[in-house]
């Protein structure tokens, strides 16, 4: 069941509702066989882009190209894209098998001729034993799998997924993330995935496009986005971050110093995105902070006291009050935690100049 893989490109795509731009001049290349995630908060335009690709929303401007063919005005049923809807949109009056048969049926394949493919699709999502059930008789996870099987059975050129896991509980969501990723790997079909959940985006995607107010904020492979967020928005939306603001003090080749009050910290790289008052914004991931009882052996170190902490089994999350930097969040593996987790105890926070990143304050 491996469909021929296709690439998709958006060229200057815009969608206006009155004077409001839901999507504002978005251009994007989605390589064949990739798993691309459109990530953003609600109202960022991610769903509108997906619906334009699917053909349910007519763009106000711009083009959609499938392998260089312009499909901007093609009706949805002529695009041959598989789609998994938020809430699954299974047909309640059809059995599981008939739901999966449906896309084949409307393509003129009789039930008998479709039987093998339907069975194959059911096996793909491990639901062979539920073929004659109705959707209402299935659990959420099972319904999700049926929706997937239905969207894949006709070997679509693309698979579009609109927040497919949002209705599921956390554990099931995690399981299905594995399954989706392995499915993508096995099929080689291009997946375009919409979510507001950064963990989903990070765990499954080949590439993530972060959207904000209808525009692309930043795009790249998950690791690069996480490690090198370009803006405060990305740093904050993708994972957690501490933000430090300091005045650039001394510049050396490959690194520079910045001062917060009478404290001077070192940062790798160049002091880009400098603001008019000469300050820069630095994003520091909580897990990159070293916690120690005494001053650690890192270039940057600040003392503080624990104001709150949470235990998650595998990790500790600390809120630490510091004199110069205010409240900082730091996380550490629980089994190697070097400090006594108790409120009020004095500890040190340390990090290397390459642990943090300068971001644009927007």
């Amino acid at each position: 069941m491996t469909g021929r893989s296709h690439s998709l490109a958006l060229r200057g795509l815009s969608k206006y509702y009155g004077s409001l731009a839901a999507v504002d001049d978005v251009s994007l290349d989605i390589p064949s066989g990739s798993f691309l995630t459109l990530l953003g908060p609600s109202g960022s335009g991610k769903t509108t882009i997906l619906m334009s690709i699917a053909g349910f929303v007519e763009p106000s401007a711009g083009q959609i190209l499938l392998d260089d063919a312009d499909i901007t005005t093609l009706p949805p049923d002529k695009r041959n894209f598989g789609m998994v809807f938020q809430g699954y949109a299974l047909f309640p009056h059809m059995t599981v098998a008939d739901n999966i048969w449906f896309p084949l049926k409307v393509r003129g394949v009789s039930k008998a001729n479709a039987a093998d493919k339907v069975r194959g699709a059911l096996d793909l999502v491990q639901l062979g034993h539920l073929a004659e059930r109705y959707p209402a008789q299935l659990s959420g996870g099972q319904q999700q799998r049926v929706a997937l099987a239905r969207a894949l059975v006709f070997e679509p050129a693309l698979l579009l997924l609109d927040e497919p896991l949002s209705a599921l509980d956390k554990k099931l969501r995690a399981d299905l993330q594995w399954e989706l990723k392995s499915l993508h790997h096995r099929l080689g079909t291009t997946f375009i995935y919409v979510t507001h959940d950064q963990e989903e985006a990070l765990s499954m995607s080949d590439e993530i496009v972060i959207l904000r107010d209808g525009k692309i904020e930043q795009q790249g492979v998950p690791g690069a986005l996480y490690e090198k967020p370009a803006t405060r928005f990305v740093a904050d939306f993708l994972g957690k971050s501490n933000f430090l603001t300091g005045k650039v003090a001394a510049t050396e080749p490959g690194r520079f110093g910045y001062s917060v009050g009478d404290l001077t910290l070192m940062q790798e790289g160049a002091p880009v995105h400098r603001r008019v008052d000469g300050t820069v914004l630095v994003s520091l991931r909580p897990e990159k902070i070293v916690l120690a009882a005494d001053r650690p052996d890192t270039v940057n170190a600040v003392p503080g006291t624990i104001s709150a902490f949470n235990y998650y089994g595998s990790t500790y999350h600390f809120q630490v009050s510091t004199e110069h930097l205010g409240e900082l969040v730091a996380t550490t593996p629980a089994w190697t935690c070097a400090v006594e987790p108790s409120i009020g105890s004095a500890i040190w926070l340390g990090w290397q100049p390459d642990a943090s990143v300068v971001v644009n304050d927007r």
Binding site: G82, A89, H93, K105
Partner: protein, 278 residues
């Protein structure tokens, strides 16, 4: 449920059951009783059902008109309800108002309005003649055609309301899903929307058909006295000729045919579901 609690519930609904028995079931049995005792005991009245051509004719007329009315009303009602389910809130309010407006008009005024429109010198005939589409005026009223027009008009809200209420419960995304999976607009409608609106269609059909069976004012007014339906004949037998045996026989037969049609429908659909009891 605990048995003693259940007993309490039975006692609580007992007054309602009693009322039903006294004011509904008992008179019903009286009707059945008269139909086999008046004027003489036996099934003579029911034999008339088989033997008398007049009664055959009246029954056939009734069924023909009911089936026609039901078919046209349900199709038209479906179209109106579908449009209502698709348009915006403002238009929907207006459409609902127009649909219900006919409910508030007296049946006499409505019938008269149709006569004025459809009569030989009425708007429709003169309009068609001026357009040169017909040379002789058409007979559009005081016949079965006029009766069906008037009845469809009367019944339309009865069809629109259950169908519309059913349609509001249909997830619009299912149609999008069908389109996305490759169904044409018509394919998506036929495979997804239509089957999902079936409960509304069935309740509308039952409602309209059963109501139609009991009609006689509209047929009497628009049929020019020549379209006699079973209810009118029951009234004549009951109030004018005082042949109560015949009247109760016809009323019982009417009741049985309603129950029979419900039973037939129940074989194919879950009526409790259709009427929202479940």
């Amino acid at each position: 449920m605990h048995a003693s609690i259940r007993r309490v519930y039975w006692w609580l609904i007992a007054p309602a059951v009693l009322l039903m028995l006294v004011f509904y079931i008992y008179p019903l049995f009286q009707v059945l009783w008269i139909s086999v005792t008046d004027p003489v005991p036996g099934f003579g009245n029911y034999r008339e059902l088989i033997e008398r051509p007049l009664i055959h004719r009246i029954w056939l007329t009734t069924l023909r008109i009911c089936v026609l009315t039901t078919a046209i009303t349900v199709v038209a009602g479906y179209a109106v309800a579908y449009a209502m389910a698709q348009v915006g809130e403002r238009q929907r309010t207006w459409m609902m108002f127009c649909v219900l407006l006919t409910f508030w008009l007296s049946v006499l005024i409505r019938a008269f309005a149709w006569v004025m429109l459809l009569r030989t010198e009425g708007l429709v005939n003169t309009g068609l003649q001026e357009l040169g589409l017909i040379s002789e005026p058409l007979r559009l009223v005081r016949n079965e055609f006029g009766v069906v027009v008037g009845m469809v008009h009367f019944m339309l809200p009865l069809a629109v309301l259950p169908i519309y209420s059913n349609m509001t419960g249909i997830d619009a995304r299912l149609v999008s899903a069908a389109r996305g999976l490759g169904a044409s607009p018509i394919g998506a409608f036929l495979n997804v929307y239509l089957p999902l609106s079936k409960p509304g269609l069935i309740s509308a059909t039952i409602l309209v058909f059963v109501f139609s069976l009991g009609f006689f004012i509209t047929p009497a007014l628009l049929g020019g006295g020549k379209v006699v339906m079973i209810s009118e004949y029951i009234q004549v037998s009951f109030e004018e000729t005082l042949r109560w045996g015949q009247a109760t026989m016809l009323a019982s037969t009417l009741l049985f045919s309603v129950l029979l049609s419900l039973a037939l429908v129940a074989r194919f659909v879950d009526l409790k579901k259709v009427f929202g009891a479940r």
